[in-house]
Symmetry: C2
Subunit: 359 residues, 2 copies
């Protein structure tokens, strides 16, 4: 059933082969294959840059002059277009801070500063904007990041959907930290900090598309303190990445390609809430493709896996962490998953669009 | 006639007094009084930050550790929603690079890096996106800034108007530079790098709202090299600011308030193209309120004014530079303009919205 589901994503919004399309479709924003296609064919011919070529969600930039104990700036940018604006577990404001804080934190940086650009729709209720601003403020305080610059644009009614928020985050990478999607080594363990699929299914339910009465709550959370705790204790973390758009499957495919290694996942070990599992089964979704907004995948030598789990479980955002697989020297650039029933299948990147506007 | 025009802006989109409004209106994106109102009443209660309180278009952040010859990072963010996407003299891509490069450069920083966040509308032609990407690339090369990170979101048809672009720029401020909206001193001269009102009127004409056959071309340009030339030669520049949304009038009002000084402008000395002057007169616009995207206002001690003009006139973006006024110790926080006919009037900040979606 899961295999059929994956194939059905590839059909979704994609009646024509990719190379025959000339217009933007929703799948170009999926974070999966179509997004990669757009980046490689439309943007990269113009925006060539060593940093973009690395394929991380952050750029690491040299600090000018000598600057102990930091030698790099980490920067990341994200626009947020989630609908609805408010959902169980969060809202667009909390998401806008967490999404960018987490992307910067995945470099191993101490996250310090954030900028906010609002695009507001004429007619938006100012009380709504105040509630979102309050949520931004509370989340920024929890993450201990300072909002240092902002911008506001307003467009006519029906020219944007309520509001969009861009955030750009800035942090400083300690000298002895080298965490990067290119660093996964055969023999490394793959750990996830908690249950998967919570955010995407919560958004879908909030749109009344599921009609679930049970609470499906987003996991959106700032992970920078949890990550700092890990980095301070474990000297050899190879890769950190948050499995957002495209889910765990797409994220691991990206890393398998960047590091030129194979990935093996153990489906039986995937932490998934019952309500999320049930919702996914009803809709024919594979939770491995559903977005998370408060989870991190950690790849590090196996000898550290117990210490990593111990650190994660002490943090409120890491209580349900699990070892979910390992890196192998076989089937390079490919993610295999051993199903709970004993079979093995290839887990591809997300094609097309599964859930538009989830972040 | 001009006074009436100013009053008519205040009526535009503003049938109710500001304090009775509960919804976002286009004027909240004007860069003028309503934008300030939104920032002060809706955002600042939540986003308190020393950097935001300074009121500049950039934040200056401490670099960690010791970092000669730079001790500050300058950062600025801008979302771009201009319509139409292409106009004489530029397009949304060129504008997105120049707008942010210029804001960072106004701090006196060497501008180094830029991030780009796209929000694309389903159905956007990919060839359009390629043309805009090419324009971004050409402008970034001219400005000598590296595009280091990006993000792409797609929203459903009719949920955004073609595409919106957020850019965030990063630069490093040399140790001996202290340029700030709070630094204007009585006795300083006010210089503008060229003709005013070109961008706003070009956008209006491109929307076929004027029907002018004469070419009204935007001045959109990256000014960072011109500004670096100034800073390298003139040790005491007090303020640099680009008069974008709200125009020269609003920008000078901001500086008058930040520095707690008076501003006196000489209307006869304002460089204005004939075609822009004519278009403004036909529409009842005051060019002092019309947006510019390739101009900088320079405030510095009078003894440097000739040297500044000489440097500006050597640069293709400064050929029509002029001394347009001075800073005074009288009528603090107020901008006065001596008209060409001998009268004097108060030049207030822009109220309401004059030209929506010009940047």
């Amino acid at each position: 059933m899961v295999d059929q589901t994956i194939n059905s994503y590839q059909g979704l919004n994609c009646p024509l082969p990719i190379n025959q399309r000339k217009d933007i479709i929703l799948g170009h924003g999926s974070g999966g294959k179509l997004t990669q296609d757009l980046i490689q064919k439309t943007f990269m011919p113009y925006f060539k840059s060593d940093n973009l070529l690395k394929g991380n969600d952050f750029a690491d930039l040299d600090l000018p002059g000598s600057s102990q104990p930091f030698n790099k700036i980490a920067i990341s940018t994200d626009s947020h277009v989630v609908t609805p604006l408010f959902f169980p577990g969060g809202d667009i404001g909390k998401l806008a801070i967490c999404g960018t804080v987490n992307d910067v934190a995945m470099s191993g940086a101490i996250v310090k500063y954030i900028t906010i650009g609002f695009i507001l729709e004429e007619g938006l209720n100012i009380h709504t904007l105040e509630k979102i601003s309050e949520s931004i403020s509370i989340t920024a305080k929890e993450a201990n990041v300072e909002i240092v610059a902002g911008d506001t644009k307003v467009v006519e009614k029906n020219q944007c959907d309520g509001l969009f928020i861009n955030t750009t985050g800035l942090g400083f990478i300690p000298n002895d930290v080298n965490i990067n999607g290119q660093n996964a080594h055969p023999g490394d363990s793959i750990i996830i900090s908690g249950t998967i699929g919570d955010h995407g299914m919560a958004i879908l339910n909030a749109r009344n598309e599921l009609g679930f009465e049970a609470t499906l709550s987003s996991d959106v959370a700032p992970l920078n303190h949890l990550i700092n705790d890990l980095i301070n204790s474990i000297p050899e973390i190879h890769v950190l990445r948050d499995p957002t758009r495209g889910g765990v499957a797409t994220t691991l495919n990206e890393i398998a390609i960047q590091s030129d290694v194979g990935v093996e996942l153990d489906e039986a070990n995937l932490p998934i809430k019952n309500v999320v599992q049930t919702a996914c089964e009803l809709l024919g979704f594979d939770p491995l493709y559903v977005a998370n907004e408060g989870k991190v995948i950690i790849i590090a030598p196996t000898k550290y896996e117990v210490s990593i789990l111990n650190i994660l479980k002490k943090n409120k955002y890491g209580k349900e962490s699990k070892i979910i697989g390992h890196i192998t020297d076989e089937h390079h650039k490919t993610v295999l998953v051993k199903s709970a029933y004993g079979g093995t299948r290839i887990l591809d990147s997300l094609s097309g669009e599964m859930l538009p506007r989830i972040c």
